[in-house]
Symmetry: C2
Subunit: 204 residues, 2 copies
Amino acid sequence: MTLKGQTQTIPPRSGTAFTLSAGETLTVIDPEGGQVADLLAISAADTREMISSGRTLDYAETLYLSTGNLLYSNRSNVMLEIVEDKVGRHDFLLTPCSEATFRLCYDNEPPHPGCHGNLHAALSPYGIAEDAIPVAFNCFMNVPVDGETGRLKVLPPLSRAGDFIRFHARMDLIIGLTACSAPASNGGSFKPIQYRIGQDEFAR
Amino acid sequence: MTLKGQTQTIPPRSGTAFTLSAGETLTVIDPEGGQVADLLAISAADTREMISSGRTLDYAETLYLSTGNLLYSNRSNVMLEIVEDKVGRHDFLLTPCSEATFRLCYDNEPPHPGCHGNLHAALSPYGIAEDAIPVAFNCFMNVPVDGETGRLKVLPPLSRAGDFIRFHARMDLIIGLTACSAPASNGGSFKPIQYRIGQDEFAR
């Protein structure tokens, strides 16, 4: 159970899920710096409605989302607004790392369920099927793109210890959140992620 | 019914669906030039397995896919390989245009079901739910990205009359394919798309 207002810790290479009510804020914190957190948002009223990278990038007209940008669902409804962002670089292109990612991209690493497996385990009690897990909003993930060639790289996050990104929920949500498991995303290290649910200072 | 080897025409602002067997090729043709075709691929054996932009971009390490690139499913299986490409610029970032796209982005245009609605209608007989429609591989769609700012633009396609892209199916698939309905994608015009299913010259 997530206690409102208290800072929760997600241990390295693991994930969790919790509910977030419309009007509440969710602060995702990188306590040590350089760590990615994959975030999924699913409508609590109908779990077929999920966060959509394709809708969001289309409407935002940018790959790099930050303060003021809205995160849309597959039904083009606003799920979350980014209301504060100390880092300014996050990824919304790539799917959560998975057992297949480790097989295909890290064949010298021991297999790991990855964020995909961790999100699936955490979201199973809410009835979310593994195949339904979409592209996550990858907080702090640093994926620069070469505009000429289209080439993308996964580089260490720009986040420093204590940096955070804060979201304002626009609908009742189920949130999946991880401390990412992929070496490249995290500069080769695995660290915890913290989060905190707050009351809405924006509706007042 | 799709006759193998014969060129089929998708009328402007409409869509269709058909099966494509492992080993067959699918050629998507822009007969007049400057027209986008949204392509979805779904496993015929299990329709929960679908084309995934996030998996594909992660493994390809580029936004701009062309000859030699593989299109992956949400289960990290190869669905299609691009085996020939006369254009070299396609989009795999944005979701098919929908009624909401028209409401949010084209408020001076009459509402239209868009590629999303057309794909949903065409794929309904195969049991594909509307919410399950993912980011499509948007043949000929020209979405340049500014690597510094992340800003993206939807510009007219680079395809000229008769240009095509050819895919090789690596599994038995259900394909959804459109002649795109969004003005910006098509340089303000709406034209037909053609396609042809062929035998596999690559397996010999």
